[in-house]
């Protein structure tokens, strides 16, 4: 009865959540739904275009498409493990529900299983937003029958459990046994770096050119060898789905059987390890890390550097920086973010663009500017937008202090901008250098990184103030609301509006349809347009945000 009570409770929470949508603004609900549908459609069209381009290459294109299905699940699987890691830490050790459940007559294994199911749901639901359009585009490209979707769904579910389970097991083992001393931490980080370097070296081995096409392909698309490894679950998923779609029942069922049984073993492993370790781990987290922050010297130096600021502004900046670094959820998600960026850069280094024509070189260069700018927009949406809302119930402290709202908002903006520029500019410089783009394109790319950073910080802080939600303590929930969605839409729109003119000008010039002096005139006009837009998108939201905070009761 008690286990079913937990699931009954979750269902009621879900139903009540849906019912409460009735009391939300219809425009708000429609806006979020339309944005989600628009994103799905956009992704579907993008994947379809990608497959069409690959199809144009003929034989090698078909070979790549065949491998992409497995590679896609490898990527999803890796992200799911990391997502499971972060989410299970939050559900098992940061959730206020755990003390509540611990004082109820529930066994630890029941709590673990219940929280693990929650982890699987929270860690994976967003991946369906990627899986559905990808699978749709793949089916369209290969002309696959409808039951392909059914097999994909059936194989995806155990795959999610398996990957999230690995993440959850890692978290339990890390929390239980990873020592807390600084030296130990450095040792573990060093070990992880060595393993990552070894993995990198393995995937970038020099292959014999006489070897088969798959080996040569692995030089172009890193991970293709790994993705085809029959011992990995992504291969079971890809092979299983394709075998069943082709009507090869025995092979499909065998792959399915291997996948299901492995997922079941991992599930049992989570339950067993969890029932043994959860209470112990939880006690460890309760004993606390106060007095062990270890970043005291860094904060002292930062405070010294911030001496020119007024004391109240400096206090706000220091509080924000300290809060960020002392919140494992925040910095662990930032680490995941930068881990994915690392993968992106690893891929950039693998492609040899110099052999391509001017058309493709320019296209790649500006696609890279779009990619890095999109990363900046995502960073803004995820980490900067919720900043004011995360002040939470403590906002009255700022509200009562003899500091104007203008200064609070500007301090937040300054902190966010400094952080954002320190990420966006090096990223843009590094990626442009890896692509060996022309000097003019490089300077433009770095300038665009600055412009996008300004506007993203202005929009995220300004809209964060307008749509402030002091009751919500979960940053992910703050981001997924109406204000967060609007912020993401506006930042992405701004990004397109400022990058496209530069892209068009350079593209026309690269294809020989524009002479040099016309190029500079075009660049000048695009720069003026970008500056005007940047000023508007930075200043206006900040002004609106300050006004909104002035009008609020705290």
């Amino acid at each position: 009865m008690s286990a079913s009570a937990l699931y009954w409770k979750s269902r009621r929470q879900f139903v009540n959540g849906l019912k409460s949508l009735r009391y939300q603004s219809r425009f708000k609900v429609m806006f979020v739904c339309c944005f989600a549908a628009f994103c799905e459609l956009g992704l579907l069209l993008l994947f379809m275009a990608g497959f069409r381009v690959l199809g144009m290459f003929g034989g090698i294109g078909g070979f790549i498409v065949g491998r992409l299905f497995s590679l896609f699940f490898l990527g999803i699987g890796m992200m799911l493990v990391v997502s499971g890691l972060v989410t299970s830490y939050a559900t098992l050790f940061r959730s206020e529900e755990i003390p509540f459940l611990t004082t109820r007559p529930l066994s630890t294994s029941r709590i673990v299983v219940y929280k693990f199911m929650e982890t699987v749901f929270f860690a994976s639901w967003a991946f369906f937003f990627i899986i559905i359009p990808y699978v749709g585009a793949y089916a369209w490209h290969r002309g696959l029958p409808l039951h392909f979707a059914l097999w994909t769904l059936l194989f995806s579910l155990p795959f999610l459990v398996l990957c999230c389970g690995l993440g959850a097991i890692c978290v339990l083992l890390i929390v239980r046994w990873v020592p807390r001393g600084r030296a130990w931490r450095l040792l573990i980080i060093g070990a992880i770096a060595i393993v990552a370097a070894a993995a990198w070296a393995y995937t970038h081995r020099v292959y014999d050119p006489s070897a088969d096409a798959r080996l040569n392909l692995s030089r172009v698309i890193p991970g293709v060898m790994l993705a085809s490894n029959i011992l990995l679950p992504n291969t079971w998923v890809a092979e299983g789905i394709m075998s069943l779609t082709r009507g090869e029942w025995f092979r499909g069922m065998m792959m399915g059987g291997v996948l299901f049984s492995t997922a079941a073993v991992v599930f049992m492993g989570v339950e067993w390890i969890g029932s043994l370790l959860l209470y112990e781990c939880w006690q460890r987290t309760l004993v606390g890390s106060s007095g062990r922050t270890g970043t005291g010297r860094f904060f002292a130096r930062l405070e010294w550097l911030l001496r020119p600021l007024k004391p109240d502004t400096r206090a706000i900046v220091m509080k924000d920086v300290k809060t960020f670094f002392r919140d494992p959820i925040q910095w662990s998600q930032a680490l995941v973010f930068f881990g994915l960026l690392g993968l992106y850069f690893a891929n950039l280094g693998s492609f040899d663009y110099s052999i391509l024509g001017a058309y493709w070189v320019n296209t790649m260069a500006f696609l890279n500017v779009f990619s890095v700018s999109a990363v900046v927009c995502s960073l803004g949406a995820r980490f900067i937008y919720p900043q004011l809302s995360l002040e939470g119930q403590g906002f009255w402290i700022l509200g009562l202090s003899p500091t104007s709202m203008r200064r609070i908002v500007l301090a937040k903006f300054g902190t966010a901008l400094a952080g954002m520029l320190s990420v966006s500019v090096p990223l843009m410089m590094l990626s442009a250098a890896m692509l060996e783009t022309a000097a003019a394109v490089r300077v433009t790319a770095v300038g665009l990184a600055c412009v996008v950073s300004f506007a993203v910080c202005g929009l995220s802080i300004g809209l964060g103030a307008v749509f402030i939600d002091l009751k919500q303590r979960n940053p992910a929930a703050i981001v997924s609301g109406f204000g967060g969605t609007l912020n993401l839409v506006l930042t992405l729109g701004f990004m397109l509006a400022v990058i496209l003119p530069f892209g068009v000008v350079f593209h026309v010039h690269a294809t020989g349809r524009m002479v040099q002096h016309e190029l500079w005139r075009g660049v000048f006009m695009a720069t003026a347009w970008a500056c005007v837009l940047c000023a508007g998108f930075t200043a206006l939201p900040l002004v609106l945000g300050i006004r909104s905070l002035h009008r609020r009761d705290f």
């Binding site: 009865m1 008690s2 079913s4 009570a5 937990l6 009954w8 409770k9 009621r12 929470q13 009540n16 959540g17 409460s20 206020e96 529900e97 003390p99 509540f100 611990t102 004082t103 109820r104 007559p105 529930l106 066994s107 209470y279 006690q283 309760l286 004993v287 606390g288 007095g291 009751k471």
Partner: protein
């Protein structure tokens, strides 16, 4: 009388800080035991060890004869716990939460529905039964947690700061309820800073200071031992320390 709570040399340290030192105590069935002490004295740590939230560094605690560490599930069936800032599921309604709690403790659904009507009436929750918990005031949430915690008729009730944020009517209601339940055989172990509450309803009072049980007895015994006119004077005298008012 049969002891419902037995604390045997209970100790808890957080690294270099020892929150509770070698605590020994026995609370019989039907007693209201008030645990007093200044901030940081170890009251909440003790209650957390007794409810199984914290593992003791040394010693043991038994609830109704069951060791809370060795037999946690059975021990928890016997008790109820009301923390000072209770966690409630924000997207459940009071009705949902009541049913959920009943199912957790395996209370038959008929009884849950019957008790729900009585409790909601008693605690004045009827008008809010379909409101999401996130929209309830602090006082209303406290009333709900009392109603839900008493549903499975625990033999031992732990209450951490029972009167925080409650209006005078609810305070009166809670005091009467605790008295009535203790007369019916329920053991109540509560921590509070409100000395008048301890004077009012406590059968016995324990004063904890720096993790050690400093004084224990009925109100009369403490007044006699401390030589004060009321509990406030005795408390201040017993817990006096240089630098503390």
């Amino acid at each position: 009388m049969i002891p419902m709570i037995e604390i045997d040399h209970l100790t808890k340290d957080f690294g270099r800080i020892v929150a509770v030192r070698d605590l020994c105590l026995s609370v019989p069935a039907g007693e209201i035991f008030c645990f007093l002490g200044p901030n940081g004295a170890g009251k909440t740590t003790t209650i957390k060890m007794l409810t199984g939230l914290l593992r003791p560094t040394a010693g043991s605690a038994r609830i109704g004869g069951l060791d809370i560490q060795r037999d946690p599930v059975e021990a928890k069936k016997l008790m109820g716990y009301i923390p000072d800032m209770p966690y409630l599921y924000e997207r459940l309604t009071p009705e949902d939460f009541f049913i959920f709690t009943g199912d957790l403790y395996r209370v038959p659904r008929d009884k849950v529905l019957e008790e729900r009507e009585k409790s909601f009436e008693l605690f004045g929750i009827n008008d809010y039964r379909y409101t999401l918990i996130k929209d309830l005031s602090h006082g209303m949430r406290q009333r709900l947690i009392y109603a839900a915690t008493l549903l499975h008729e625990p033999r031992v009730l732990f209450v951490d700061e029972p009167l925080i944020g409650l209006d005078p009517y609810t305070i009166r209601l809670i005091k009467d309820l605790l008295r009535e339940k203790s007369r019916g055989g329920m053991t109540v172990f509560l921590t509070t800073h409100i000395l008048a509450l301890a004077e009012d309803i406590g059968d016995r009072i324990g004063i904890i200071l720096e993790g050690r049980l400093h004084a224990l007895g009925t109100l009369g015994e403490l007044l006699e031992r401390g030589g004060g006119r009321n509990l406030e004077e005795v408390f201040l005298k017993l817990t006096a320390k240089p630098g503390r008012l």
